[in-house]
Amino acid sequence: MSESPLILIQSLRKRHSPDFELSIQSLHVDAGDVLCLLGPTGSGKSTLLRLLSGLDRPDSGDVRFDNQSVFAAAPDVTRRIVTVSQRPQLLSDTVRSNVEYGLKVRGHRERAANVDAALKQCRLTTLASRDCRTLSGGQMQLVALARALVVEPDLLLLDEPTANLDPAHVELVEEIIRESCAARQLTVILATHNLFQARRLANRVALILDGSLVETAVTADFFDRPTDSRTSAFIEGRMIY
């Protein structure tokens, strides 16, 4: 662990329903990391991402982002964290308007160049004036990614971003994530149940089961030398859930 991680989770607890509680004692993410949260559906990955964004509050514990609690930080701090969901909800408007939304709410007046760059990065330039209601699922996810990247966040939270996409769009989304990380020190936390995607994208992987963190390790160690029997079972597909 480095001196000062970008994200530090401390004794985080969130009860979602009478029979489900997320409980993470400690987890850190350094700047520039791509951390993949692995786990079956309903294990608590999305709940954790919502807490990390600061928009959902825990029952106890804290999430520190750049040495500040995300639950008490000023908007200009929390605006450095952006989330892309599995099912993007786009505005009934053009692709360009959707992409520039984050800049608009931040009061940026000169938006055109940034929007053009984000559209180009997400291969959406030719679709800029298209109504989002006419896009395919894959194109909608690209718009969601573009509107997140255009604000140049320090932390990008991705909640199963390719769960409903065809292989071509999965490849494209992964390529855009890789390019964004290479272009600047973007930190990514990606929730997925896709082991192959975790291998392809992450430099660290964490397994969450039933709301608890089972194991966190560098990607190669996680897959090749897991220390927990549940991790081995999950990787080898022996875990029935």
Binding site: R50, S53, L55, P75, T78, R79, I81, V82, T83, S85, R87, P88, Q89, L91, S92, D93, T94, S97, Y101, G102, V105, R106, A144, R147, A148, V151, L157
Partner: protein
């Protein structure tokens, strides 16, 4: 033909002025209230929705009677001297139309997926910015709320008859003229006035639908 067609412009203009003012006021009050209701905590939303839906079913003559008693010389607001004035008619139409604006706006805003609000917040929108965006997403429903309020106002007769008195050159509007002409057996004229009223309703609704189409998204 009787004298009414000569006063047609005056009657039509007063109808539009009274109903238009009532709709502007009920939209100014009702749209923000509708948005607030849509975002209110479930326990408040449920009880307030019952209140709003009851307001939608308010009998105009009951509203007219209560407003008459309130504005009459001995009533609590008698000193306003609004009775038998267009102001009283606007107030009556406002009371009758505002529950529609609140109810339909709340339903339209509530129909926007809740996940959108969360995603807008995660993109950096403040609670106010996200609510305004959601309101814009619900613009078709909001336009419907305004159109419904206009329909309720322009076609209202019981309350405006009681508080306006159907006074010639002063508080006579299309609906009260139709009632008067029907009572006097001038059915052709009553039908003619009805056609004007219907045309107005159609024109205003077409204007609202067209404006809705031109609204920036």
């Amino acid at each position: 033909m009787p004298a009414v067609p000569n006063q047609l412009w005056e009657i039509t203009s007063l109808s539009l002025r009274v109903s238009g003012t009532a709709v502007v006021l009920s939209s100014a009050v009702g749209i923000p209230c509708g948005v607030w209701l849509a975002f209110a905590r479930p326990k408040y939303r449920r009880s307030l929705s019952v209140l709003v839906h009851t307001g939608m079913a308010l009998p105009p003559v009951v509203v007219g009677l209560l407003l008459y008693l309130t504005l009459s010389r001995s009533g609590p607001l008698g000193n306003l001297n609004w009775l038998y004035e267009p102001a009283a008619m606007i107030t009556a139409q406002f009371i009758l139309s505002v529950p529609f604006v609140i109810g339909v706006t709340a339903a339209a805003v509530a129909a926007v997926p809740g996940e959108l609000v969360w995603q807008l917040r995660s993109l950096g929108a403040t609670p106010w910015q996200s609510r305004l965006t959601v309101l814009r997403e619900a613009r078709a429903g909001v336009a419907l709320a305004v159109a419904t309020a206009f329909g309720r106002s322009i076609s209202e007769v019981g309350a405006v008859m009681i508080v306006g008195g159907n006074i010639e050159h002063h508080t006579r509007v299309l609906t009260t003229s139709i009632v008067l002409e029907t009572r006097q057996g001038h059915f052709a004229l009553a039908l003619w006035l009805s056609a004007v009223l219907l045309t107005l309703a159609v024109l205003v609704n077409v204007a609202i639908v067209r404006a809705q189409g031109r609204l920036p998204a």
